[in-house]
């Protein structure tokens, strides 16, 4: 087990203060880069580190940076701090625990890609993180790590902290750009224009996740070889039926069983029934998969994915119908309404699941759910709608008997507020 890297100073008292951060070697990577490295050197280091984006898609960060046209007069960095995938809380932990690490990562990225203005888009629900980051940015300006002629060089960099206003879809990168431009957060058509070429205000734009940017100071400070030796470090958000839920730093490919152990074991010493390996848009897996290495490749083979590495543990007492209904209700509530399969599909699926939970399900509902899941796959405009079928499929294939128990009346009906918008909570229809 390697020692903590990304979380090394998270939890240290006063870490959000620049003096403490500096005492822990903070901003040394930025000094080193400005003094000894060209922007191209920094890009090469990140490329050689094999860092992959930590927002969910897992795209190689160095390659993403290289897509940005070098000679473009105006370019932007946009930080995706709209973490909201159920089960994911790693970015919030980093922002609240070590805000300067993100600020330094942003400055380094701007230097590497030749950017002078960065926007940190932070979801509105992170009130505490907002206050801490706001203060960290102000301190960085006071100490000359942001602003004009940083550390006496020709490098200029400004950070604007921008609040979201409650919309999960804003985490999708093109929807985030729309939101940042003061519009409804609805995803843009792509290709042809990916953000690297035509992003914010139609200018070349680098979009990176909070955790991804928090890796950059470490890679620049100690080098890509050191970084690769670390595992490389990956943050897993572990929650659900474990004794000590929290963010765990472990190498990519750690198994769910090992993570459960590090999270203090399953609550009440119970057995695991199932788990989401990568947030609620990944296919939940059964207990027999507890020893599968959690990495992009092995999870893809099981029809699931690592996503943002949010591992939600569910013990043997879990009612999978309720869990899946809650997941579908989430996507229905957060659907932006732009495309029909997502807007109508999430609504229809939720209505059926609601009916089943209320003891009014019909056996043919199972075929109906399957057919809706099939029709939503590959037809939605963006990944949000595509997040519904994996849960439904797992429910119908791996936990079918639980659905049947509700339909046949072997299980008592339950009421859940899954129809949030209308405020209708009563059973039926």
């Amino acid at each position: 087990m390697t020692e903590r890297v990304l979380l090394r100073h998270v939890g240290t008292p006063g870490q959000e203060d620049i003096e403490t951060y500096l005492r822990h070697g903070g901003y040394e990577a930025l000094r080193r880069a400005l003094r000894e490295l060209t922007p191209e050197d920094v890009v090469e280091m990140v490329d050689r580190s094999q860092l992959r984006g930590r927002g969910g898609a897992g795209f190689p960060t160095g390659r993403k940076w290289k897509f940005v046209p070098k000679d473009a007069p105006v370019k932007y960095l946009v930080v995706n701090g709209d973490e909201g995938e159920p089960g994911t809380f790693k970015d919030r932990t980093l922002i609240e625990g070590d805000p300067h690490l993100l600020v330094e990562g942003v400055a380094l990225t701007c230097y590497a890609v030749g950017i002078r203005k960065a926007f940190i888009y932070l979801r509105r629900e992170f009130y505490q993180g907002y206050r801490k980051l706001e203060r960290a940015i102000a301190q960085a300006y006071e100490h000359g790590f942001l602003g004009e002629r940083i550390l006496g060089t020709d490098f200029h960099c400004d950070i604007v902290l921008h609040p979201g206003a409650g919309a999960y879809i804003a985490g999708e990168e093109t929807a985030l750009l729309e939101s940042l431009e003061g519009k409804r957060a609805m995803p843009r058509l792509k290709p042809p224009y990916f953000p690297a070429v035509m992003g914010l205000y139609n200018q070349p734009t680098v979009l990176n996740n909070v955790e991804t940017l928090c890796c950059i100071p470490w890679i620049v400070k100690y080098g890509p070889e050191w970084w690769l030796q670390q595992g490389p470090p990956q943050l897993y958000s572990v929650s659900g039926h474990v004794n000590r839920p929290g963010v765990i730093e472990a190498p990519l490919g750690t198994t769910a069983r090992e993570l459960i152990e590090r999270a203090g074991g399953v609550r009440g010493g119970r057995r695991v029934k199932a788990f989401y390996p990568g947030g609620t848009s990944s296919r939940p897996l059964r207990a027999e998969h507890l020893d599968v290495p959690l990495n992009h490749e092995s999870l893809a083979r099981l029809g699931s994915m690592l996503g943002s590495a949010a591992v939600i543990i569910m013990d043997e007492t879990t009612d999978m119908v309720r869990v899946i209904a809650r997941v579908c209700a989430f996507y229905r509530e957060e659907s932006c309404g732009k495309c029909t399969p997502c807007r109508e599909g999430t609504r229809w699926v939720t209505q059926i699941l609601d009916r089943i939970l209320h003891g009014q399900g019909r056996m043919e509902d199972l075929d109906l759910l399957e057919s809706i899941a099939k029709n939503m796959t590959g037809t939605c405009f963006c990944p949000l709608g595509e997040s519904v079928p994996p849960s439904l499929r797992a429910g119908l294939e791996d936990f079918r008997d639980e659905f049947i128990a509700y339909i046949e009346g072997a299980r008592a009906p339950v009421e859940m507020p899954v129809r949030i918008r209308e405020g209708i909570l009563a059973p039926g229809g």
């Binding site: 159920p86 089960g87 009130y127 604007v160 206003a165 003061g182 957060a185 929650s239 839920p245």
Partner: protein, 157 residues
């Protein structure tokens, strides 16, 4: 309707962005900070300050769940009931809140003190079940803790 201080803050927001419209969400939030919600009149004022059509402002205000286009109570409770919270008893907390406040999610108490809302994931699953009251986050919640947070020790409604 908006105070001169709020109008000045909104004008200042404009300088942060290359395009004025980017200041729209922060401006609406600033208005809400002052008024508790963003009534149509405030939306019109924001539209004027940003030199935008009022429709553009209304379209954005109605899209985001944390811009309130209807009046809310003095304290806004956002209870998360998403998966990790559900697994840790969020439904019990919801029923407790409904009982103590006498309202259902989406409603405001008749005395105007509390609004109860179901939140989607608050990204604080290690504190499940979890809620945000105004801008403070609390969890893991128990019915007793909920009472302490909302009504203080032994204080009841």
């Amino acid at each position: 309707m908006l105070s001169e201080a709020a109008r000045e803050d909104i004008r200042r927001l404009l300088s942060r962005y290359p395009v004025a419209r980017s200041a729209l969400i922060p401006a609406l939030l600033r208005a809400q900070e002052e008024l508790g919600w963003v009534p149509p009149e405030a939306q019109r004022e924001v539209a004027e300050l940003l030199d935008l059509p009022v429709e553009a402002v209304a379209e954005v205000a109605s899209f985001y769940s944390l811009i309130f286009t209807e009046p809310v109570g003095e304290r806004v409770i956002q209870l998360c009931t998403n998966v990790s919270c559900l697994l840790n008893g969020a439904e019990e907390i919801r029923r407790h809140l409904e009982e103590r406040l006498g309202i259902r999610p989406g409603q405001t108490t008749p005395d105007g003190r509390y609004t109860l809302r179901i939140a989607e994931c608050l990204a604080a699953c290690e504190q499940a079940p979890c809620m945000i009251v105004d801008t403070e986050r609390y969890g893991p919640l128990t019915p007793e803790l909920v009472d302490r947070i909302l009504f203080g020790n032994g204080g009841g409604r």
